[in-house]
Symmetry: C2
Subunit: 202 residues, 2 copies
DNA sequence: GGGCATTCGGTACGTTTGTACCAATTATTG
DNA sequence: CAATAATTGGTACAAACGTACCGAATGCCC
């Protein structure tokens, strides 16, 4: 039910540093599907199909394991965003809408869907209590804000930074509300309208 | 460090149904300060200064304990919102701004500040995985949306419900970002501007 | 005041937890 | 190729966990 990619002879059990990443992968999977409480050494090892002791060998403690996993999730997420922004800038569609789509829509490759979203917000919440994670959260939101703000500026926004903050805030808020209530309406029309309204405001 | 209100002879150890509420209080305190993982029967009992067995007497299981705590937090929060809305409607200030203030500002009585905010979002995230909690989260956001939407309508909004969704989303998103990054800027100007921009959009 | 249901609170039990340990294996270096 | 370091993986252990149990204390009705 929660086994990772099975180890065929062609896809042998990872060794060395690759093992580290396999463990982080397993952590993210568990956070997404069950929650941070469920991240135990034994379960991580089971999902990664690695021996129990590999978790303590590659990570000093459970805390370190969680922190590293969330850092990885943040890096992937920002990379995904920057890709979308770059692709949208050269493409034909409205770059702002394209980036909002990338934030909201998680069916594209590189984003594991609803589960990945839950993990993302779990990281944000964890950061509220751990200074080490706050730094990651800061870099993360800063990348989002700068990307959005740049696009808004070239779209003619009079206050690109303020507009970016409102757009990102609305996206995050609507996403977490949707997760919490179980609704599954399309958020894009709402965000597109918000972007239009903000750009129209002198 | 995490002891609840100490039991003086004047403030005796609660008995009967009051004990139930004291336990829920302790759960919320732990969720806010340490996180949902830290909610164990023993710690709840310790914080509430009650015997271990009281937790299993008043709640069937740990799951039930967490669910009931979220429900209590939601009830308090919506009550606080409705109070603010009622007070603002008769007061002199702009009712919409007043309600946004109530959502964002947690230094007023009835809201235990940053800790209470963290607990709120933690429980929202928990709802993403537990259907029983989703129902509570639905009622919760619905009260917010209806309140805001009513106020926006009488303020002349052409799309009160849509505007309410964006306002609430932005408030939630900005709040969680602020928690995650450790920033402590005043969110009210941003939300006031958003309300103004939305109302100005024909 | 006696009888009965509820509540209290100490304790016990089996399970799961994080982490330590160490012999066996694999990689690396001189 | 020997030797030295890094990695692997099975196992052990004390602590903490959720929950069950049950005699003592308390409140309530007749």
């Amino acid at each position: 039910m929660m086994t990772a990619t099975t180890n065929t002879p062609e896809n042998p059990r990872p060794r060395g540093a690759a093992r580290r990443e396999a463990l982080l992968e397993a952590v993210l999977k568990i956070v997404a599907e069950v929650g941070p409480d469920a991240v135990t050494h034994r379960r991580v090892a089971e999902v990664a199909q690695l021996p129990l002791a590999s978790t303590t060998y590659w990570f000093d403690s459970k805390e370190h394991l969680l922190t590293a996993a969330l850092e990885l999730a943040a890096e992937r997420d920002t990379a995904r965003l920057l890709d979308s922004a770059a692709a949208a800038s050269t493409g034909g569609t409205d770059p702002i809408d394209a980036v909002m789509d990338a934030i909201v829509d998680c069916d594209d490759p590189g984003c594991a869907g609803r589960g990945s979203l839950i993990a993302t917000f779990a990281l944000l919440l964890e950061a509220a209590r751990r200074p080490a994670l706050q730094e990651i959260a800061q870099r993360w939101t800063e990348v989002y804000l700068q990307t959005l703000s740049r696009l808004l500026e070239s779209a003619g926004s009079a206050r690109p930074r303020d507009d970016a903050e409102l757009l990102l805030g609305a996206a995050d808020g609507l996403l977490i509300e949707q997760l919490a209530t179980g609704a599954d309406e399309d958020l894009r029309p709402r965000l597109h309208r918000l972007a239009a309204v903000l750009l129209a405001s002198a």
